[in-house]
């Protein structure tokens, strides 16, 4: 167990190194070379000279690589072209907003689990068909577009949802914040609903054919207990595994949702930075979100060893 955690930790570090290496290659593959990431008319000339010294841009490539890794490890990704502030500062002040939105979406996504269980229990009946239909529809629809349509309808008729931002200016109450959070969080959760309901349904059906479920029934346990304690508990295992992948998807989706709802998180930051060709910010955000996702997957894998003791790790 301890050895597994150490091994998995080193694996995560290697993945991170891989992401960093890819980013370094991109910086050098860019038309115009690494200068694109350091020089910009919006910044003073001295800054470019400083960067050239810091990143050893006059040194051979392998040396530059090592220096770049060192700077990345110290979270130095240069300064933003737009407001000349360190990129890392800009990212970190936006992170809490993204955590709030992405975290709410992930939590709300778990509502897909009961849907899947119900669909499995009513297999072949109308509820099952209905979830199947809505899953197909949900898969086919770009969720940000659905958000636009809901906003459009709401703005013209019932005024249920605020159009943008995290709160009404001059009103910072909890209720107001939750009101602003509701729609983007629900839209971000659709991925979870679709994924979990299908996954839990098929897993539930699979587990119900296992011997231990038959044994549970044979020894006269009430049906409720057979379903909840024997079938459901085992059917939930893949939900834990897939949480890691869903995290990456939700992070990626934050770009679309935060842009659509003017939510000041890192997704919106990436959008604004890319619009202004603020290369260092977009680069750092790609590395940062990948690192978040690697970290999340690391914890998910650790959690899995606690949830499923049958799993053996070499």
């Amino acid at each position: 167990m301890g050895r597994f955690i150490v091994r998995r930790f080193f694996q995560s570090c290697l993945l991170l190194l891989g992401v960093a290496t890819m980013s370094f290659s991109l910086i050098h593959l860019a038309p115009g070379g690494p200068e694109v990431f350091n020089e910009d008319p919006r910044l003073p000339r001295e800054y470019a000279q400083q960067q050239r010294a810091d990143f050893g841009l006059d040194k051979p490539l392998p040396v530059q690589y090592v220096i770049w890794l060192g700077q990345a490890a110290r979270l130095n990704f240069g300064r933003s072209f737009v407001d000349k502030r360190p990129v890392t500062d800009k990212i970190f002040e936006r992170v809490p907003n993204t955590f709030l939105l992405a975290g709410s979406s992930l939590l709300l996504g778990f509502l897909g689990v009961p849907l899947g269980v119900l669909a499995a229990l009513r297999r072949g009946r109308s509820f099952d068909h209905a979830t199947r239909f809505f899953t197909a529809l949900g898969n086919a629809t770009p969720h940000w577009w659905l958000g636009l349509i809901i906003l459009l309808v709401s703005a013209r008729t019932v005024h249920w949802f605020p159009l943008a931002g995290t709160q009404t200016i001059g009103d910072g109450s909890l209720l107001d914040r939750l009101h602003h959070l509701l729609l983007p969080a629900l839209l971000g959760a659709i991925g979870g609903w679709i994924g979990y309901s299908r996954l839990v349904r098929s897993e539930f059906l699979e587990v119900s054919t296992q011997d231990f479920v038959r044994t549970a029934r044979a020894k006269g346990l009430p049906e409720r207990s057979v379903i909840v304690r024997h079938t459901l508990r085992n059917a939930l295992l893949p939900v834990v595994t897939s949480l890691g992948g869903l995290l990456t998807v939700v992070l990626s989706g934050s770009l679309l949702f935060e842009t659509t709802f003017s939510w000041p998180g890192i997704g919106r930051l990436a959008y604004e930075a890319a619009q202004q060709r603020d290369y260092p910010v977009v680069m750092a955000l790609t590395i940062f979100t990948a690192a978040l996702s690697i970290l999340g997957n690391f914890f998910v894998d650790i959690a899995y060893t606690f949830v499923d003791p049958r799993v053996q790790y070499e």
């Binding site: 891989g18 890819m22 038309p31 636009l148 990456t248 992070l251 770009l255 959008y271 890319a274 290369y279």
Partner: protein
Amino acid sequence: MSQTDATALRSLAPTTAAAYRSDSFARAAWGRFLRDRFAVAALVIFVLIAAISFTAPLITANILHSDPNRGRLTQKFRSPDREHPLGTDDFGRDQLARLLHAGQVSLSIGFLSAFVSLAIGVSLGMLAAYYGRWVDDAINALVQMFNNIPTLFLLILLSIIFRPSVVGLAFLIGLTGWTGTTRQVRARVLSERRRDYVDAAIVMGARTRRIVYRHILPNVSSLVLVFAGFDIIGAIISEAGISYLGFGVQIPTASWGNMLSKSFDYFTIAPWLIIAPGVIVVLTELCLFQLTDGLRDALDPRLKS
């Protein structure tokens, strides 16, 4: 006994030598596919959408008499009427004409990126399963790495660095979407390797190369069609998302995604401009999903629960 019954019987009894011949496998699969009414309907609608999109220049010039890229500023933001069935946009361009031309672009990107991600995914998956050991580990690490990078961030970064054309964009989308295929092909090749027919080939003295290309590949290839379907679905959604943000297909070329990129400016003045491009994306994706689902069941009846 009707023709379809005969086909069905043949598919149930694949022990005859004829059933193993690829042409009758295809025919049997086609027979199974035709019995899935939803899949057939999806195929018909999808072919219709594709046909209309790819003949868009003819249709807009001869039937609609409008130009997707030329508008009159005096005619901007006209709501749908007889002359402009879907209204006009901020440059007074006919929305229907743009929508049809956009279909050409979006569908092409879907097909091309699916091709790219299939080429990468299938070859890496086969390599990983065939060579095993460190090759497998290396490819697995690469898959893990790409799976951990939130795709849209990477796509936007690549887009502002390389400023790709439509074809370039398709390549970039394909380049970020191959990991699923790699994993599935790898798993599938590994499971095929344990089958009797592979043992038989080994006993007959076939080389590993021959076994992979002549025996395993044909058994995996039908699945490739299914992966292709899912790759096209993914690529169309990706294109829509990234073009909506403004970093995909660049204006004036229309795509389903970039027609929505100014949605917020249209919010109060021209809401109809937000609806049509989204609806056509949903319809296309829905068809592709049903189609791919039907294909999967038809090609591999064992998978059907």
